[in-house]
Amino acid sequence: MSESDALAHYVESNRLEHFVNYELVGKSALRVQRWRDQWKLKRRKPRPDSPLSPPLQCVAYMKEIMSRHYLEGRYASGVRKVAWVTSGAPTEPLQALGYFLVYPENHAALCGVRRKAQSIAEEAEHAGWSRDICSYARTDIGAMLSGKTPAGRLPRPDMLVCCTNICQTVLHWYRVLADYFECPLVLIDTPFLYDEAHDHEVAYVKRQIEDMIHVAEEMAGTTLDQARFAEVMQNARRGAELWLEVLNRSQNRPAPMTAFDGFIHMGPIVDMRGEAVAVQYYERMLHELDARIARGIGAIKNERYRVLWDNLPIWFKIGEFSKSLGEHGVNVVASTYTYAWGELAPMIDPNNPLESMARVYLHPILNRSTGHKLEAMKKMVDEFQLDGVILHSDRSCKPYSLGQIDQRDRLSKTLGIPALLLEADHNDPRDYSNEQGANRLEAFIEMMEARG
């Protein structure tokens, strides 16, 4: 190949764009942006009227690393192999193989937080997708069809990995993606656990992970480097341990962060578990939380009641809920959702990577019985010393919402604490009635007040 051909190939393959826009300019610009954010956070004037303490300083870093991730995504096609994966997919081998990972669920949540989800989901609805389908799926399919996204651009996938440990919708959703993008789809089928996983179930999932590695190696034209894989596994374990520690810091009174902070700060553990950057980020966050605890600073200035949140957040209401609950002295200190990315940390064994991955990816809360979730919630009520539970009955997430009526009933009857079933949707504002929702939340707070 002549020099000019090599240059042409370089330009065509997107590498030049990737180098200039991402490596050279983008990363530096985001670093400067982070400095500005840090400067602003440091000089932020106290707001005596706000029920909330100032935001955590580390949020500037999180913004940088998440923006960097999405920015790289814009230019990743042709430079790195790209895999689109479900939030509970066994991604560690893909990372070790150098894949750039896109999490459509995280992207849909981003659209939700930015209040773009409805208009993007409508693109899918106009194309015939039913409103009864999960709003994450509708948001991502809408983005895929229309190109609308607050992330700028998502790279086209070279392969798809769909793991059924979170729901069965992903099975159908990823088939649609495979058809649209004409790329291979690897399915990891995780049997539902009524109790603990049996050995044959672990063996079954392990075999599928091995198959995924073969497909990924073939697509990438390389083989899995065991040393690099071990490093990713170490990071995955350490990142999950740190995330769990971060969440458990809210067992302190007052809690240094809210579950709403957790919903925002979980970005790196979802999108970058296995990467050193996630480990560094949560080390930083833990350090800041410890400093808050040492000084007795709570996320809510006047923490009167401590509450558990069950199910996904209502992404388009995070800020509003955080403020309105804060005004009543209510701190949502824990959530089953954020916990899902930390509670399995002890199961991750870098010395036995494939088998431990099979175990970990079989045991997410959504792949286990409703009785298990009830017990997990009771444990959290005890460990976090909670005064009430809000169960978000999420129209889109049927597996998470199944059993909530009984769970609510048992929590309120056996523990004697108020428990509220709040009807909404994680991404679609059309499925939440503002007045009715606010009224229920206020009545729930009055019930906690009545208990003293």
């Binding site: 499925d431 939440y432 009635s433 009224n439 229920r440 009545a443 009055e446 019930m447 009545a450």
Partner: protein, 257 residues
């Protein structure tokens, strides 16, 4: 000095209610009007009229409840209808139990504790099925005044099943039933059955602690009361002024009684 110790306002979606109580917690005056679009202006006027009638000054606390509660400028505090209805009915009937409050926009089942405070509650979800508005809309379609609904439903010879719980779709169902020559009273009976079915599923969810108590505007409807008693196999007791219980509870929360 005025005998008024506290005033409760219930700015509901269908009607606005005002109750004034004395220091013993007895009702000394009340007002009830259909809700107007500018509820804050309406309330100011109603409050002034009640104060004039009772020769009360502005010193008595005003507690607001209902969907329009946050619009009441004179309110010293605002509290949800759940807490207010529980308190009002507890005081009026003197006992704890399971309270069903069917209002214009929502229906609630409240477990009232021994101290008159709500222990647990459940409300209709994101649609108006199972609320007063459901009956109001469908009654209008049949041309029957709201206060005759219950009596006519109870005296019907038959019962037409209404399968749609959606207020709007139920209306279409009624149109086709009328077109087929169905007896309007039998349609009314079916409508009541449908509403009670929704309410009873909430009651079963919260659980029945006897007695079953009923408040809110729809409590004045005999058919609803009778059908709830039948469906739950329990006696249903009513306070003297079921529609005023939200405002009464609010007044009690403001007073010392």
């Amino acid at each position: 000095m005025s005998k008024v110790s506290s005033i409760g306002i219930d700015a509901g979606s269908t009607t606005c209610k005002l109750v004034a109580i004395d220091c013993d917690g007895a009702i000394v005056g009340s007002r009830l009007e259909p809700t107007e679009p500018r509820v804050e202006i309406q309330m100011e006027r109603m409050l002034a009229a009640l104060r004039d009638e009772l020769e009360a000054g502005p010193e008595a606390p005003v507690i607001a409840t209902g969907y329009g509660r946050k619009l009441i400028k004179e309110a010293t505090r605002n509290v949800t209808e759940i807490t207010c209805h529980a308190r009002g009915v507890f005081r009026a009937l003197g006992r704890a139990g399971t309270l069903i409050d069917i209002g214009g926009q929502d229906s609630k089942v409240i477990q009232v504790g021994d101290n008159g405070r709500p222990v647990d509650f459940m409300m209709n979800d994101k649609c108006a099925a199972g609320t007063g508005r459901f009956l109001e809309h469908t009654a209008a379609r049949l041309g029957v005044p709201v206060d005759q609904l219950g009596g006519r439903a109870l005296s019907a010879r038959g019962e037409e099943a209404i399968t749609s719980t959606c207020t709007v779709f139920a209306e279409s169902e009624i149109i086709s039933l009328i077109a087929r020559g169905a007896d309007p009273d039998s349609i009314l009976r079916g409508l009541h059955r449908s509403l009670v079915g929704r309410v009873i599923s909430m009651v079963r969810n919260v659980g029945i602690v006897t007695p079953l108590m009923l408040s809110g505007g729809v409590a004045r409807n005999d058919a609803v009361r009778t059908m709830i008693a039948e469906a739950a196999s329990e006696e249903v007791v009513l306070p003297g002024e079921p529609q005023l219980m939200g405002a009464y509870g609010a007044a009690l929360l403001g007073g010392t009684a």
